[in-house]
């Protein structure tokens, strides 16, 4: 990144040619376009992937990504650096997405119901069936496809916990459910994914 000349006398000097996130934030506060672009490039994939995963379509994901960054950049003047910038940003992205889902009346997280027999994928259902492990590793693409097939409520919790790494208490706060609910929905999501992965693999095997 070329060093910028001119009136940004308050902006920190560049370390050689490399702009650090810290410096970019300061320069963005001054209104520096390149600084905004730098911050955007640094975090765009994660924000966009989250939005895409939660909404399931690229048009919504793009709108929400833009919205999240916009909200972030509007407030960048008040960022003091108490928590990591990326934590701040990603929480904002999660909130933007959740708000959108709520607005659309889509289920964010289903309330825990007494266990529905058809939902439970228990091993005891198929005694003697070849209960193989999902061999070795799971291909990223096939996992992605399975996540896309999850019902929205399960998907939210799974994405927030297993993909994005939020804790149950954080998820409960963001989504507005109980910690217990978050835990049980996560478990159901993982069970469902296992089932989806098996089904998809079986289908693929049959096609050969």
């Amino acid at each position: 990144m070329r060093p910028k000349k001119g009136n940004l006398t308050d902006a920190p000097k560049l370390q050689g040619d490399k702009l650090t996130e810290r410096e970019a934030i300061e320069r963005a506060k001054q209104g520096d376009a390149e600084a905004f672009k730098f911050l955007y490039d640094l975090h765009k994939r994660r924000v966009y992937s989250l939005c895409l995963r939660m909404t399931g379509n690229t048009a919504s994901a793009e709108d929400l990504t833009q919205e999240a960054f916009l909200q972030l950049f509007r407030k960048i003047g008040t960022f003091r650096g108490e928590s990591a910038f990326s934590t701040w940003l990603h929480r904002m992205a999660v909130n933007v997405v959740l708000m959108q889902l709520r607005k659309k009346g889509l289920p964010v997280v289903p309330i825990d119901e007494p266990t529905e027999p058809d939902e439970e994928v228990t091993v005891t259902k198929e005694p003697g069936a070849a209960d193989e492990r999902l061999a070795g590793s799971i291909d990223r693409l096939e996992l992605q496809r399975a996540v896309d097939e999850l019902p929205p409520g399960y998907r939210t919790i799974f994405v927030l916990h297993d993909v994005e790494g939020y804790e149950h208490n954080e998820i409960a706060g963001m989504v507005g459910c109980s910690i217990g609910n978050s835990k049980s929905q996560l478990h159901k999501a993982r069970l469902k994914l296992r089932e989806l992965l098996r089904v998809n693999r079986a289908e693929k095997a049959m096609k050969r």
Binding site: R45, T122, R133, L134, L143, D162
Partner: protein
């Protein structure tokens, strides 16, 4: 321990809270052992999905445009800067405090163009008397200059519209100041700003090149 029991405690197990008898069950039960391994694998592999997709480059262009329009990017405009810009600059004046107001629930007078005599304290509880008519902001003056070439009757209408828009903003700001947590007044304030923005947009629209 039976499989059914094990599955019930499986979520806790995966979090690392388990008892010896649960571990013992795993030694003897291939099905449960597979299930555990699979769920672990799924949750670990999930991490690889973070940041797995890239948005299209057009997204930045749209975002940058909005950042410029909101005055968050404050740099020299590219050549060919048109009269429309003053309505864009004006957006800074209301969108920054607006976002702050919504986020923090208070009315902020950070960047709104300070008019002479504008020294009212924020969030006093005593009744604030109606503010005296303030001198015009520079953006408003520019608006009037833009429409100066038009027929007098039309000019007068623009002036009246401007007064109405400013009066709404003043009223809404004042009420919002009296009670910063009043979300209804926050909404009024947003609406007041939206009206003024519309006035700017419609007034400058005709001044595009190609006209006259």
């Amino acid at each position: 321990m039976k499989c059914l029991e094990f599955e019930r405690v499986l979520p806790e197990y995966l979090e690392g809270n388990y008892l010896p008898e649960q571990q013992a069950h795993l030694q003897t039960c291939a099905a449960c052992s597979n299930l555990l391994a699979d769920l672990k694998l799924i949750s670990e592999q999930a991490k690889s999905l973070i940041a797995s997709h890239e948005p299209s480059p057009a997204l930045w262009n749209a975002l940058e445009e909005r950042l410029r329009r909101e005055g968050l990017i404050r740099q020299a405009q590219p050549p060919g800067f048109r009269l429309r810009s003053f309505s864009s600059r004006w957006r800074l004046a209301w969108l920054v405090p607006l976002a702050a107001a919504i986020a923090i629930g208070t009315v902020v007078k950070l960047h709104y163009p300070m008019k002479a005599g504008d020294t009212q304290p924020v969030a006093r509880q005593e009744s604030i008397p109606a503010p005296p008519a303030k001198p015009m902001s520079s953006e408003d003056l520019q608006l009037l200059t833009t429409v100066a070439e038009r027929p007098p009757a039309q000019r007068a209408k623009y002036r009246a519209n401007l007064d109405d828009a400013n009066s709404f903003i003043r009223d809404a700001e004042q009420s919002a100041k009296q009670d910063p947590s009043d979300i209804f007044m926050q909404q009024m304030l947003i609406n007041a700003y939206e009206q003024k923005q519309m006035l700017y947009d419609l007034a400058v629209y005709r001044s595009e090149p190609g006209e006259q």
